[in-house]
Amino acid sequence: MYDEIQEIKAQYPRTRSAVLPALRIAQQRYGWLTPDALREVADALDETPAFCQSVASFYDMFHLAPVGRRLVEVCTNISCALVGAQQVLEAFEQELGIRAGETTDDGQVTLRALECAGGCGWGTVVAVDHRYREPVRPEDVPAIVQEVRDGG
């Protein structure tokens, strides 16, 4: 990871610019930004862990607490909401047996609502590990959950 971050650093006139890509690499490796992960990023960038955490905490895509192995996100901003995003979210809640913002007991899947994903004309947008499915209707949800649980 250290070497990978050094390579990214070289793309920028200033080291600090590499903090977002470096945090992303660390999150991919550890699943979430553990204290150790933040320390590793800090070492690679010659910053403090506190600085890295202060940046990470600003951005929604960084996890500062454990999350499931798979991330299911449902856009609930207005364009999707107007065409029924809340029913899609509730279908996921029912199918997974958790509320939005929670992780299944087996640690496999985290479900959360997402602000406008940028697929407004094809709502409701669902992102599975950041891969968009659009449009998703409540009746599509069981198959998506099955696929996610099967590792697809």
């Binding site: 793309q11 920028y12 006139p13 200033r14 080291t15 600090r16 610019s17 590499a18 903090v19 977002l20 890509p21 945090l23 992303r24 202060s54 940046v55 600003f58 951005y59 929604d60 895509m61 960084f62 609930t76 901003n77 207005i78 364009s79 909401a81 107007l82 065409v83 029924g84 995003a85 809340q86 979210l89 509730e90 509320r99 939005a100 913002g101 959360r112 609502a113 997402l114 602000e115 406008c116 994903a117 940028g118 697929g119 407004c120 004309g121 094809w122 709502g123 992102a127 950041h130 891969r131 968009y132």
Partner: protein, 440 residues
């Protein structure tokens, strides 16, 4: 030659993500020509084209580029930064451009870099846009392989989920590795932007238009659209409409044409209740405004903005208080926290709107809501505060009777039948119940 499609031209019947296909439609030929022209000659074409920025603010691109110091006027390098952090609710046009015509964006970057004497380009792409990132990255590799980059480096920089980073100075902060909080202006980025150096920041669509402007000439471009709104725009159509999607149309096309002709109208026998013409941050229009042309000037006459070109159609099943609540929740979630009026005001807006929706609001709180909006408007460093206050104030202004009905009846007159019923926001997922009450 008039063309309805400029930015997306050719993408309907070819896979323009491949460099060979892009070259078959004349791609990268303009780059060679532009490099043969002096930078000032390219800038002159952009000035003649009179293209206004496509990100939302609508500042003339040629003028902004002209503010960049000429070689020798500033000791620092000049940067070109492309704003691909598309996040304004309702907007998904830049995504379509990156997915379908990535090489046009890259060619636009290279031509613009030549015009302003920059060798360093950064494309700041929204973190959630994974597929778009992969497509641009692949296109960049193809452009490298074809030896098109000259002495220019293009760095593709991914965001990590923060609406505010679409604001240009917040974007620069984020690109420098900081929390994405906006800077005070002046100095403007043209003088002291990225790494305190001269920086031109443009939206994806603006940059992707540059090749056509240089190819056909600024005068050709300026001939399309209207006097105040030249050229075309990729409009994002969404909400209660049959065929949502992106439509590149000449500016001056009416809302009616976009919604009914291109979008196929509303499903079922629904009627238009409200239209958001430029992304969720702009004041709302009503069904009476259906014949308004999609231009900067016509929208200004109606007291609103063309913004990001995102048209959201709202039918008669929608409770406007719920809509306001959801919009306010978004801005509360995305407020960076730097300015007090925005940080605190958005929270107040959410709390009051929640009380109104639940039927717990007193009469005075409707005026309090407007008062809060007024205390945000024009009082923040960046436009996010305004983006929260303007739409909410407009919902109350245009649908006051509906807000009043909530107070009079002690609850939502839609009685569970609104299209936004049980609408849920990411801010709710931490608590699963409404945020703290307004202090008595």
């Amino acid at each position: 030659m008039a063309a309805s499609e400029i930015v997306l031209a050719g993408a309907a019947d070819r896979d323009l993500t491949q460099i060979d296909a892009y070259r078959e439609v004349g791609g990268y030929a303009t780059l060679d020509r532009a490099r043969g022209m002096g930078p000032q000659a390219v800038l002159d074409e952009l000035l003649t084209a009179d293209i206004k920025g496509r990100g939302g603010a609508g500042f003339p691109m040629g003028r902004k580029a002209s503010f960049i110091p000429k070689p020798g006027q500033n000791p620092n390098p000049t940067y070109l930064t492309v704003n691909a952090d598309e996040s304004e609710p309702g907007t998904f046009k830049d995504r379509e451009i990156m997915l379908r015509v990535p090489h046009r964006l890259i060619e636009g970057c290279l031509i613009t870099a030549h015009a302003i004497g920059s060798r360093n380009v950064f494309i700041y792409i929204r973190g959630e846009y994974l597929r778009e990132f992969e497509i641009i990255r692949a296109a960049l590799e193809q452009a490298h392989g074809a030896g098109l980059m000259g002495d220019v480096t293009i760095v593709l920089h991914r965001g990590a989920g923060a609406y505010i980073c679409g604001e240009e100075t917040a974007l620069l902060e984020s690109l420098e590795g900081e929390r994405g909080q906006p800077r005070t202006k002046p100095p403007f980025p043209a003088i002291a932007g990225l790494y305190a150096s001269p920086t031109l920041i443009n939206n994806v669509e603006t940059i992707a238009t540059v090749p056509a402007i240089v190819e056909h000439g600024g005068a050709w471009y300026a001939d399309q659209g209207t006097e105040g709104s030249r050229g075309t725009r990729v409009f994002s159509l969404s909400g209660n409409v049959r065929r949502g999607g992106n439509y590149e149309l000449e500016l001056g096309t009416t809302l009616r044409d976009l919604i009914y002709h291109h979008g196929g109208g509303l499903p079922g026998s629904r009627r238009i209740k409200a239209i958001i013409p430029g992304g969720s941050s702009v004041p709302v229009l009503t069904a009476d405004d259906i014949d308004t042309p999609l231009t900067f000037e016509a929208m200004a006459d109606k007291g609103t903005f063309l913004g990001s070109g995102a048209v959201i159609v709202i039918d008669d099943r929608c409770c406007m208080v719920q809509l306001g609540l959801r919009v306010a929740q978004f801005y509360m979630h995305e407020s960076c926290g730097k300015c007090t009026p925005c940080r605190e005001g958005t929270r107040w807006m959410v709390q009051i709107l929640r009380k109104i929706e639940d039927g717990r609001a007193e009469q005075a709180e409707l005026d309090l809501l407007l008062d809060v909006c007024d205390r945000i408007l024009g009082k923040c460093l960046c436009p996010l505060g305004d983006a929260a206050a303007m739409p909410i104030a407009s919902y109350v202004d245009k649908f006051r009777a509906e807000f009043q009905a909530h107070i009079d009846a002690g609850g939502c007159p839609y009685k569970g039948e609104s299209s936004l019923e049980r609408v849920f926001a990411p801010v709710d997922q931490h608590t699963h119940h409404p945020t703290v009450e307004v202090p008595a």
